[in-house]
């Protein structure tokens, strides 16, 4: 952790879909950089309720290769807009129990405004454009495929 003589690392976009439990600490650590003073993160977690129904768990699926491409585009948009260093976007697939993370987004930057705004933009864009689907599983043993209000082709329905 000397920093002083470090070869300056190239900006990295780290995109991962996994059935494993997500670790906020690990994703944060992936974007830390000695030339940065700020890491901003967003963690999406499973809620236990939707419109009064008790949610037992969520199940996620994705069109993985396209989802990775769409996230790569979002990373590229972010780099056009803000001077950020590293970007990590993790999304869990399969069953996600209540209170566990479905997504972790982390961005590092020299100064805080860039990473704070970039993280906000990243989760907004992910919800609007990345082909991932969530099915809520309710206590009453029913289930429902959800849609983000940000989904760009079905928002008005």
């Amino acid at each position: 952790m000397k920093g002083v003589d470090d070869v300056e690392e190239k900006p990295k976009d780290i995109i991962r879909f996994t059935a494993e439990k997500l670790s906020v600490g690990e994703v944060s650590q992936l974007v830390v950089s000695p030339v940065c003073g700020a890491v901003s993160l967003f963690v999406g977690t499973t809620r236990n309720n939707f419109e009064g129904k008790n949610v037992i768990s969520l199940e996620y699926e994705a069109y993985v290769p396209m989802a990775e491409n769409e996230i790569r585009k979002i990373c590229s948009d972010i780099r056009q807009k803000w001077p950020v260093r590293h970007i990590a976007v993790f999304h869990r697939l399969g069953l996600v129990p209540v209170s566990e993370a479905s997504t972790v987004i982390a961005v590092s930057s020299a100064h805080r405004a860039a990473s704070l705004e970039a993280v906000s933009y990243a989760i907004d864009s992910l919800k609007a454009k990345v082909p991932i689907w969530k099915k809520e599983i309710y206590e009453e043993s029913t289930s429902s495929w959800k849609r983000n209000k940000e989904c760009f082709w079905a928002a008005g329905d």
Binding site: Y63, A67, T103, K146, R147, D157
Partner: protein, 88 residues
Amino acid sequence: MVPRCQIEVLYFAKSAEIAGVRSETISVPQEIKASQLWKELETLHPGLADVRNQVIFAVRQEYVELGDQQLLLQPGDEVAVIPPISGG
């Protein structure tokens, strides 16, 4: 007659439940409007009519609405049926 080719159709989420498959290979005209391609899928899986107004295609991983746009398909191209997304 427009030449035909075989493409791979992928179904996700609700569309996969309705179609009963997650992927299938079908033969379609190489030049076809997106809306016409959708009609071919409805012929194979009539239940898909229910979600017509909610879905979009991804052709070679790029979004294409189910409208008048002319698709130029190559053998082996991947076309996905994309219901409203809900990641995050």
